[in-house]
Each structure stands twice: as C-alpha cells, then as structure tokens.
C-alpha cells in the first residue's frame, strides 16, 4: 500500500502559484470552505523613484502608460536614519495611530502593504477608509504595495502558524525585500525601509532577522513636535502592556456575537440604536420593533459601556424592574464633578455613591406612582454590534489636571468633557495637559474596557481657545459633521471657465439654447428677504384671453452647471445642503454658481427651469407644463418692497398687476390647503423645517407676516407638488420625493392628557385636519403666547420629514402630513439643497430634455443619496440652532435678565421653560446676509434651568413664570451655561 504524496516541487508552475484557504460563513447560515488561487507576479513595482529596474517592467495601462512612481527619491531623514527612510507600518501601528499618519508635518513616503491593508479592513472599516483617503492624496506619498501578489514577497503560512504571525512575517519579509531591492540601485544614499510597529513580538523577531524596525513611540519621539504627536497614539495598547495585573471588572461582560445573533433572531434579545436622554445622562432608550414604546436603559450598569449612537443588543429586564422614565435632570458634570481621572481604577464600583443616590430617589418615586404612570419596560445592554464612535469636541476638565502638569511635561490622565451632553466623559492621557486647558480640543475614543469607568481616548488636535469665535464655530461644524473645508481644485475645475463673465449665449443657435424656451419677454420678478444673494426662484403671472391666468415659477437651472457624477456633483451630494450659521454660510456649491451664475439676478439673462400653469380665477389648475428656459428678471424685491408696491394704488404697470394676480391666487391656494388640513405649526423647529420647504419665513408671532411671504410660499409649494406628480409619473421607482409621516398616536397622549387636566382643552389628533382645528381652538385670550406654546409642544410630538426614493414606499406612505399633500418633493432651491438638484435632473429627463444619467436612475444610489441628505439636513438644522444658542449665550455674558417664561416640562428637581421671543433685547450677533429666518430664530429659546433646589412653590405645566437668567461659567468644569432662577410664578 503506497501513499502518494505530490510534492510541491514537482510542479513546474508551483513557484508562482499558491492558494489561500479560508472558511466563509454566509448570512443565511451557510459555511463554506473557500479556496482562492493566487498567481504570483514579478512585475509589481516597488514604486520608489530611485529604482530603475521596476519602472522598466511595471505593468502598463491600455494606453501604454505606467502609473507614476510614488515614493520620493530623497525621503526625509531622521536622527536614526540620516540617509532617509521609507516607512512600512504594520497593522497595529495603523490601528493605534491613524491620526499620526494624517499629520501634515511628518509621515511621508509610506509603503502600505496589502497584507496590512486587508488586515486593517477586517479590523476597522472607518480606519481603512481613512487610509485609502491618505493613499490617494498626492503630497503624503503613500503607496500600496501588493506584496501578496509579488513572488518575492509572498509568504506561505507554515504549519501551526497563526494568521497574525504569518502576516507579521509577511510584513517583515516585505521590508527585508525592499531593503535588498533598493540596495541594488546604484545611488549612494539608499534610504532605509523601516518597519513601524507596536507589537513587541514582531519587533523582536525583526531584530533577529536583521530587518530594520522601530517602535512607533520611539520613532515619534525622534520627530519634531514629538509631544503633541505622542498624544495621538491610541491609549489602549499601552495600558494593556503596562498593567496586566489588574483585572477588576466594573462592567458585565458582553455576550458573544453568536449568542447575540441567536437571541435577536429568536426574539429573546433586541437590537437597536442606543440613544441617551438629553436631560439625564444615566438614562438611555432604544427603539426596537418588538415594543411600541422605546425600551428604557437606566444606570451605568445597564448602559454597560454603550455610547450614544452605537448599535447595541439589549435584554429586557423582568417586569418587576420596569420603571418610568426619569423625572429628574441629571447632568454628568454635576454629579461626577470631583472625580479624578487617574484614580479611576480605585473606584471599585461602577456606580458611585452619588449616582446611586440619584437613581434611588427615582425608584422611590416610581413606586409611589404605580397607578398614574405605567412603568415602561427596561432593558440592559448585553453587547455592542457596531460602535458609532466619531471624533468628539470638548474641553479638558480643569479639576482633573494636577498642578504639576500645568507646568511640567508629565504624562497624566485627564477627563475631557464633551460638548455633546449625551457623550460620557472621555479619559485621555496627555503630556500637554497644561497647554490644553481652556482649549476646544478634538479627541477620539479608542476603547472602553470592562475595567474602566469611562471610555479611553486620545487627543487629535486643538481647535483653539474656548469661546473664541473660530474655535467654537469649527467645533460646531465638527460636532455636526458639516463639511467645511474649502472646495478642492477638482471641484473648482468643473466651473465654467468664463467665471463671472459667463453670460447666456446671444445666439439662439448655441447648444445651450437647445430645447430652451425664450421667456425673456415675460415680466418676471423675484421676491426674497433683504440682501439675498442666492436667488433660487422668480415668478410671473399674466391674464390669458380665456379669462384664466398663466402663472410661472422659474427656478435657477443649477443642473445645467452641475453635471451628474463629476467632482462638483459628488461634493455637493456629500454636503447635501448649504448650512447657515449665525455668522457663516457653508455653501453646498461654489460661490460662483450660488451667488452669480445660477442666481436669478435682476436685469440679466439667466437659465431657468420653469413651471408654467394655467390657473382658473379660483386657482384650480387647468394645465401645467415644465420647460427649460431663459429668463430675464425685471426686479428683485424684498418682501417689504413687494408689499409696498402691491399696496400702492398708484402703481398700475403690468408687473405690479402680475404681482397682484399672484397675491390673489396665492390666497385662494392657501385657503384650499388649510381646508385640506395643512398644519401651521409655530415652533423653532417646525419653522426651520417649513423654511426649508418653502425658502421663506412663515414666522407668525415675532414679525408681522406680510402677504408677500405667503405669496412666494404658496407658489413654491404648488411647484413642488406639480413637479412631484410629474417625476413620479415618469419614474415610479426612482423619483426623489419628500414625505412627512403621520405621527404615531401615542406621541400625543401625554400632551393631550396634560392639556385636558390643566386647561380643560381637548387636543384631537386623528388626522392632520383635526389636529390643525383643535390647535386653533387651544387659545387663551389672556395669554396670546399660549397657543404658540401648544403648537411648539405639538411639533415635538411629530416625526421629521424625510427624502425618499419613490420605489421604497407605497403610494399612501408618500403623504406629507404637515402640508396635507398626497405627494411632495423639493424642487425650488437647487442652489442650496442637493435633493432639488436631483429633482431637476429627473424632471429634465421626464420632459425629454436630456437623457437620464445612470447615477440619477440607479435606485440603490438614490437611496444612499436620500439617506445622506436626510442626515445632512438634520445636522444642518442642529448646527444652525447650536450656533444661535452659542451667540445668545455670548450676548448674555455677564448680564442678568428677568424674563417671562412658560413651563414646558417638569422634572422632580427642575423644569424646562420656553422663553418667548425677547422682543427688545440687546445686541444681536453681527448680521450678515444669510438665510431668511435666522434672525427670528434668535429670539426664541429654550433653556434648561439648573436644578432648582429651593423650589417651594408648585409649578405647573403651561404656567407662565418669571425667571432670572444669568450666564454662569462653572469654574470647576469650565463649562458655560445659562442658569435660571425662578423669581415668581407670574399671575
């Protein structure tokens, strides 16, 4: 009996053939053995400019071009490597210090091995994406070397060798090869190729093999500005090495992934996104499909190291532990004020005494209240599926910085207090604690182990002094993930070469005139807020011989300038929207387009996309058509100017007549809309939303609403609805639409209940019409603001509107609840919203103006776009509001004010009030041309009072109270906030 064992050597092709074997588990539970053959090549270049050998054999593209070599022929030297060096980081180095590699001052000429790249992708996708970004940048000179495909650098896995060991060996082998390979070049100063690692074992083996290698920390210490850079190395790995002895766990262990998946599948566990209550950092909630109301997660133990936004798996607690949502405001700084970051481990228990007491009181309260409030199911986190950690902005807690560190350079742990209240304090180790005091800094979380009370992170960069305009603005933009960098060159290259001199071609034979209607003869005007530069829309109306009216809405033809899928389009789709801060506007499109070429400025010819209706005198649509056009606006009015002109009886020209027609029709349209049940919700939030719907302020209370405001608004709504119908007809699967879901009934329960008990008013919410009517009825003659208050609170109960792709929902779901329209989209502000731009392209295709670009046609892509712009819109709103809040805070600085306020929400140790518009308040932040409505928003704000310790008098919901507002800076934490005191319940 013979055993036949083929040896590898007998195969003549064996040398450049290899295979990878692994097990793949598919989603539907299949487990397969996968064998991939690997064909090894010898023509993969080293990409060093020094090397003449590789350039000769490097593979060429179809056009015969070799991609240029990346690594510099004179790389920078350090003390240890005076002749210059190339860096080859291993996976751990990248995992621990990606921020370092992104530095502009060091880390050039880096070889990223394929082995490392693939390992990194398996370990952390965000880091992988950042690294890919780095390899694409020209100036950093990062080169991806496909060592796994090059014959000389390929490494076979040995028997009983773990994958990690094999990969480490592959890295060492590649470094060795690089050195040998470059040694063959004739140049006299051959740079050393150095492995950069954090793994002690790997470094030792490199030493044995005589492969140049250096520890990440040692390397960084040799660089300029080492102290700042050293802080950027992730915290975790160092600690593991230094203190393995300690193994006291503060948090329960997570379940294994398989256990979680089994549990989720069988319905024993639930998966969802973890949200922290803005009022109480010890209370989180998670919405899961199995329960109508969100599950509550109370206390540090149950929250178990999850951070706001993480995708977590929870287990529902037994019914006797179900509780009511907290009735108390608990802020982290207030409770954990005196904790020391260094002594973290000594606090053996996760839950400190203070925290426990805070929770205890609450439990008592719950038990007393068994009949009134039904306890909600509670849950505990048993595992995290996906961390959604990002970079966080915050400032160092001054009380955690020791005196010695303020002068010396000792490394120590400090707490970072994030700006976002929902994020726990982050512990960072730094040598520059003294310098970082009083600065806005950016950090990332590295890990949160079971033995640490707080997550551990590291410093990324400093934004500047606290409470300086630049630092705070940048902090806001970072916190809300707004792209604020200037447009890159590739984007600017997409602009018309004529720049500001661009004009509509005079000859109508020009390709730009193709299929465009010449509407230059129409008496078109635009109505916008004062100082508006990016004029999206213009209008006209004229009587028709049959007694009907022709009405036209003309929208800037942005899609003419922004072609699908080019760099500018990609950038705009990422930005999603223009962001308006108090003193700054972050554009979606470059200035040249937004404020000049696209903007429908008066007296000049502009390309436009027109919607033309034939309306009967009672404002019924007889006919509608859409066309690309060329227009010439006769005048750019402000709302006030337009109103004056309409009211001025002496003006009898055709333009004014057209405006009067528009006004007459708009009133009828509005009446129809209100009859259908459209909501007019007055609140800071909804107002913002409505603005984005119409590009107009509809602020009812703070400012006299001019008829012209609603004139523009009505026609924009009409245009949006007409366009929505058209593109949905043409593209029932891919049309980009906007919906506003009907709010779940349970959302209104509490408000309706309170209104009934406290005021004897009834709130009906079975349809938007019923809600609109009953909101109208909620009025208090003695207090006009009461109605607004109720509206604001009702708005809180609603869903937010969202963009979607028509194919993802059934038709009844298209409904826009707030506008009471069956179908809706955004079409009228393409300069500042990406969704409108997509709608423009779809409409152009629907009227056969141009072929549909694949990017606008692919549903999957559109869904991704919708998802992104929904997020961007939300963030833009939040950023705008935060910016207002910051300026209001600054304007209050050092002053005390007494104001009337209304109670919105009551906690057991405080309450939330809404301070109505501060009509004659002091200085507003510097006003610059900006989005309409921003100023109005400034005037209203809502502040969370600090716990009112001596709250003797009972305060009721909806009650008018008088509060003293004071700006206080907490000396301990360095956090500024408005503190309020109750002066007297106003009669």
């Amino acid at each position: 009996m013979t055993s036949l064992k083929r040896s590898v050597d007998t195969d003549p092709f064996a040398s450049n053939l290899s295979s990878k074997v692994y097990v793949r588990s598919t989603k539907n539970g299949k487990v397969q053995k996968i064998v991939r053959e690997v064909y090894l090549r010898q023509d993969i270049p080293c990409s060093s400019r020094l090397c003449s050998k590789c350039i000769a054999t490097a593979p060429r593209s179809a056009a015969g071009n070799v991609s240029p070599f990346v690594l510099s022929d004179k790389p920078a030297g350090t003390k240890a490597f005076p002749q210059g060096h190339y860096l080859v980081p291993d996976t751990n180095a990248l995992l621990n210090a990606m921020d370092l590699f992104e530095q502009g001052s060091a880390f050039f000429d880096v070889v990223i091995l394929q082995t490392v790249l693939e390992e990194l992708r398996n370990r952390s996708l965000p880091l992988y994406n950042r690294l890919i970004g780095l390899t694409k940048s020209q100036e950093k000179r990062f080169y991806v070397f496909f060592n796994e495909f090059r014959l000389e650098t390929y490494v076979n896995r040995e028997v009983d060798e773990s994958i990690n060991d094999r990969n480490d060996r592959a890295v060492r082998h590649a470094v060795k090869w690089y050195n040998d390979h470059l040694g063959q070049t004739k140049s006299k100063d051959v740079p050393v190729t150095v492995m950069l690692s954090d793994d002690r074992g790997n470094l030792e083996k490199a030493k044995q093999d005589k492969v140049p290698a250096i520890r990440l920390r040692d390397y960084v210490s040799g660089l300029k500005d080492a102290e700042r850079l050293l802080d950027m190395i992730a915290e975790s790995q160092e600690r593991v090495a230094s203190k393995e002895k300690k193994a006291e766990f503060l948090y329960p262990e997570y379940f294994s992934l398989s256990k979680m998946m089994t549990g989720v599948k069988s319905g024993m566990l639930h998966q969802g996104i973890f949200n922290v209550s803005p009022y109480n950092y010890l209370e989180g909630s998670i919405k899961v499909p199995a329960f109508p109301k969100p599950l509550l997660i109370l206390g540090r133990d149950n929250i178990n190291r999850s951070v706001d936004g993480d995708v977590v798996v929870v287990e529902v607690l037994p019914q006797d532990q179900w509780k009511e949502p907290s009735t108390k405001i608990i802020e982290e700084e207030a409770i954990t004020k005196n904790e020391n970051a260094d002594n973290d481990e000594d606090a053996a228990d996760v839950v400190t005494e203070k925290e426990r007491r805070a929770l205890q009181e609450q439990v008592k309260k719950t038990q007393g209240l068994t009949t009134e409030g039904r306890p909600q199911p509670t849950a505990k986190v048993v595992g995290v599926i996906k961390r959604n950690w990002r970079q966080y902005v915050g400032h160092v807690d001054p009380s955690t910085v020791s005196q010695t560190a303020r002068q010396g350079r000792k490394q120590e742990s400090v707490f970072l207090i994030p700006m976002d209240k929902k994020i726990p304090k982050i512990r960072i180790r730094t040598r520059q604690a003294g310098e970082l005091l009083g600065k806005r800094i950016l950090v990332t979380i590295d890990s949160w182990d079971r033995e640490h009370r707080n997550p551990v992170g590291h410093f990324v960069r400093s934004l500047g002094e606290l409470e300086t305009k630049a630092a705070e603005t940048e902090a806001l933009l970072l916190e809300y993930d707004v792209q604020y960098r200037p447009f890159p060159k590739t984007v600017l290259d997409c602009l018309p070469s004529e720049g500001h001199d661009w004009k509509v071609p005079t000859s109508t034979d020009d390709p730009g005139w193709k299929d465009r209607e010449d509407l230059r003869g129409l008496l078109i005007c635009s109505i916008d807020p004062i100082g508006c530069q990016d004029i999206d829309d213009a209008l006209h109306a004229r009587p028709l011989p049959n007694g009907n009216y022709e009405v036209g809405v003309h929208i800037a033809d942005v899609s003419h300038f922004v072609k699908p899928a080019n760099a500018m389009d990609t950038e705009a789709s990422i930005r999603g929207t223009t962001v308006y801060l108090v003193d700054k506007r972050i554009d979606m499109l470059p200035m040249l387009l937004g404020t000049d070429l696209c903007s429908l400025k008066p007296y000049v010819e502009r390309y436009a996309f027109s919607v033309l209706w034939e309306l009967s005198p009672s404002a019924d649509i007889v006919d509608v058509r859409f066309t690309k056009s060329v227009i010439k606006s006769r005048e750019a009015f402000s709302y006030e100017q337009a109103q004056l002109r309409i009211d001025d009886a002496s003006q009898q020209d055709d333009l004014t007549a057209g405006m009067r027609t528009l006004l007459m029709l708009s009133k009828k349209l509005k009446q129809k809309r209100m009859d259908a049940g459209a909501l007019s919700l007055s609140s800071p939030e909804v107002k913002v939303q409505m603005e984005s719907e119409t590009s107009d302020p509809i602020d009812v209370k703070t400012k006299e609403l001019l008829d012209t405001n609603s004139l523009v608004e009505e026609f924009m709504l009409l245009a949006n609805i007409s366009v929505a119908r058209k593109i949905y007809d043409a593209f029932p699967q891919t049309a980009i639409l906007r919906r506003h879901g009907a709010p779940p009934k349970t959302n209104f329960d509490e408000l309706a209940n309170q209104l009934k008990v406290k005021r004897g008013l009834e709130l009906r919410f079975d349809s938007s019409k019923a809600l609109a009517d009953s909101l109208d009825a909620c009025a208090d003659t003695s207090e006009p603001f009461f109605n607004t208050l109720v509206r604001i609170m009702a708005t809180r109960c609603m869903m937010s509107a969202e963009y979607f792709c028509a194919g993802t929902q059934s038709y009844p779901e298209f409904r826009h609840y707030g506008l009471a329209s069956e179908i809706y989209t955004h079409f009228t502000s393409p300069i500042r919203r990406y969704a409108d731009l997509v709608a423009h392209r779809q409409l152009a295709a629907a009227i056969d103006y141009e072929a549909m670009h694949p990017a606008v046609r692919a549903r999957g892509r559109l869904e991704a776009v919708c998802k992104n712009i929904n997020v961007r819109h939300r963030n833009a709103q939040l950023a705008g509001r935060a910016s207002v809040a910051y300026y209001v805070g600054q304007s209050l600085k050092g002053r005390v004010a007494e104001e009337d306020a209304f109670v919105m929400r009551i906690f057991s140790n405080g309450f939330v009030v809404l301070v109505p518009p501060l009509r004659h308040r002091g200085p507003h932040p510097p006003a610059r041309p900006r989005r309409p409505g921003a100023r109005e928003r400034l005037r209203r704000r809502e502040l969370h009072p600090a716990p009112l310790r001596r709250l003797r008098r009972a305060v009721e919901l909806f009650q008018k109270v008088r509060v003293r507002i004071r700006d206080v800076k907490d000396e301990a934490t360095g956090k500024r906030g408005a503190k309020m005191e109750l002066v007297a319940p106003a009669a």
């Binding site: 074997v21 097990v23 996968i34 398989s258 998946m261």
Partner: protein, 391 residues
C-alpha cells in the same frame, strides 16, 4: 447483478479451470496473490481543494476512484414537536420549570432536558449523510449502482458513530454529502475500492472549528487551518483510541477456501460472495458480542454482512428432462436412467457447473471470522490506510 457480471467472456472450460485452481489448498489465484492478499494500491488525500475532505485510490488493475466530502450546516428539525423554534422551546422549558417549582415534583426526563447536553442527546440522524455513487457507463438509478450506494451507506450508518460526530448543537447539525465516483471503467466489482476511498476521504474530512457555545446559531472559525478532523487520529504510542469510519470488504469462498479481494474472473466462479462491513469499536468496554477485542490491538466490530450474488449464481444450471416440467411428455421416463441424471446434475471433474443451493452457515461464519481475526485482512487494510498521509 449487472456490475458483477460485466464483460465476462469466459468459456465453461476456463471457468472450470479457475474453479479448480481456486479450490486447491492453498488456492492458486490467476494473479498469483495469496488468498488474503489485497491488490496493491496507491492512495492520496486532499486532491480536491474545495471539498472538506477527499481521497483518490488507484488499484494496480487500473481501477481508480475519487471521493469528495462536502459539509453543510443544516437546521435540525426537532422530532418531538414539529417546527419548534428556539423561543417556543425556551418558553416550554420555562413553563416546565415553573410547573416544577410549584409542584416541586421533578421527573428525570425534565431534568435531562434542562441539563447540559448529555451524550445521550448527541444522536445523529441517518438523513445527515447523503451519498451518491457514480459508475461510468451506468445510470445512477441502475440497480447495481443503487445497491452499491446502499451497501456503502449502510456500513457508514450502522454504528451511528459517524452521524453522532455531525451533531453541532440541539438546533443545528452538519450534513455530509459524499460523492463517490469511479473514474475507470468497472474492471472488477468496485465495492472494496469505493469503500476504501470513502474511508480515506472521511478520514481526511475536516470541519470548521465551532466558536459559538450551547444552542446558539453556530459560528465558526474562519481559519481553515484551525478546522478539525471528524475522525480524530490518536497516536498508537499513547494508546489513545482512534475512531475510524468503517470499511466494507469483499470476501468469497470457493470450495473450502476463503479468498479476499477477488478479481472479476475469480468472482465468476465463487460459490459464495460476501460484503463484510467492519468498524473499529471506539471503546472496548461495550459488551457487544460481535466485538472481537484481542489484547491492545484494534478492536474490530462487525457491522453488516451482505451476500452478493456472484455471476455463477445468475446462470441457471441445466435442468434434466426428468425433473423438467416443461418437458413433461418425454421426461416422465423410468427412474432407471439414474446415470444419465447424475451426469446432468452431479459434479464432473473438469466441467464447469454453476453452484446450486445456499451456502452453509458454517462457511459464512468462517468467512466473517477470517475478516475479523487479529492480524487478519481487515486489520491489515486499516493498517495500510493508516500510512496514508492526510493532506
């Protein structure tokens, strides 16, 4: 038996010669082997890279077979309550627990279910193994092919050891697909070849290492190097018991001689042919009577015996007119012509005559004993297969 009788072009004289030489003591076999000698073979494993296990065996006479084993994870359909899923099962357990707490009377049955998986519960189902045999030139529903397949699977399933190894947890199991392919034309009855190749392929079969615990949805280590053999191989020196898949051997008897691994020609003159399936008893302590444990050597265990009709049995012998009902006119002659009758029915030296009647029970037990005896053929074959390197 179509397969056994294939291409049999031997004259009665040749058959008679074969029968005679094989009946000698010791028998003279056409290829010069001794009675217990196997044909030389070459074997290798791991020839199909994307299978979980594979083997190829090539006999010296040119027959060659390849076996590939593929494994898939399958959900176990619970027999007790059909379509019971995890949640309802747990709910049922909870109810029982509550019931038990209230009554405080426990039955052992319930205990067993809640406890950690007892070895009793690790029981496989026969459906977890699917086996297909392909013989070139034959349809897969040919009776010969089907018979081969059922014989092979019967042997594999007989002791339940193999399917027990496919158990993952209470809710999942591996399903093995065995593809047995004879590459060469069936020059001889392929049963031993296919059985040995299957044996080797199963020995080489590895399953991904399980990472999850208990009754969770199974998750596996994605490192193939960490995968585990179904049949773990203990080393002889340490004396750890090695479990192995069973093998099926072909044994025939001519006259009083028991001959192993018969060639096609030999089989043509067999008085009796048996397919004997032998397994290795995992632990000696079983008091099964069929276990023949001798000393520290491998404990072999008889799993199945099947008789195979040799071609000699398929050719009907001539029937004398005297007893032939079809010839009743002339046949009813006197009983005087006994000499003639003997000539027709009795054995005549040098004339081939197909065997008639059943084999004696003692003969069959001798054959089986020969297979199982220590240092016997089965032992030798297993020993030989041990020497094959597992890729």
């Amino acid at each position: 038996m179509a397969t056994t009788s294939q291409h049999l072009l031997l004259s009665p004289a040749e058959l008679a010669y074969l029968h005679t030489t094989l009946s000698l003591s010791p028998p003279l076999r056409p290829d010069g082997r001794t009675a217990t000698q196997f044909r030389p073979l070459t074997a290798e494993t791991g020839i199909l890279p994307s299978t979980n296990g594979s083997a190829r065996i090539c006999f010296a006479d040119g027959t060659e077979a390849v076996v590939g084993v593929k494994a898939e994870v399958e959900k176990t359909v619970s027999v007790g309550i059909p379509e019971e899923d995890e949640s309802s099962r747990q709910a049922r357990q909870r109810r029982r627990k509550q019931a038990r707490e209230t009554k405080s009377t426990t039955t052992t049955e319930e205990e067993a279910e809640d406890d950690a998986v007892s070895s009793e519960e690790r029981r496989g189902e026969n459906e977890w193994l699917e086996l297909s045999v392909e013989i070139p030139g034959y349809r897969d529903d040919d009776s010969g092919t089907v018979f081969l397949a059922s014989m092979l699977s019967e042997a594999l399933l007989a002791d339940g050891e193999l399917t027990k190894k496919l158990w993952i947890n209470r809710r999942f199991h591996w399903k093995l697909y065995l593809d047995i392919i004879l590459i060469s034309p069936p020059l001889s009855y392929p049963l031993p070849l296919l059985s040995l190749t299957t044996h080797l392929a199963l020995l080489a079969t590895r399953l991904p290492r399980l990472k999850s615990e208990g009754d969770e949805d199974p998750m596996f280590d994605d490192d193939w190097a960490a995968s585990q053999f179904i049949f773990t191989r203990g080393s002889a020196s340490t004396g750890t018991s090695t479990s192995r898949p069973p093998i099926t051997l072909l044994v025939m008897a001519v006259g009083g001689n028991v001959i192993f691994d018969p060639s096609k020609e030999e089989l043509a003159v067999a008085d009796c042919a048996l397919a004997v399936s032998v397994g290795e008893a995992a632990d000696v302590e079983t008091d099964d009577a069929a276990v023949v444990a001798k000393g520290g050597a491998r404990a072999l265990r008889l799993l199945a015996v099947r008789t195979i009709d040799p071609p000699s049995r398929l050719t009907a012998p001539g029937v004398p007119n005297a007893v032939n009902a079809a010839a009743w006119g002339q046949g009813a002659t006197t009983a005087k012509e006994t000499g003639l009758r003997t000539a027709e029915t009795g054995d005549v030296e040098g004339v081939w005559k197909a065997p008639r009647g059943g084999s004696k029970i003692t003969l069959i037990s001798t054959m089986v004993e020969k297979v199982l005896e220590k240092g016997g053929v089965a032992d030798e074959v297993l020993e030989g297969l041990d020497g094959v390197e597992l890729a």
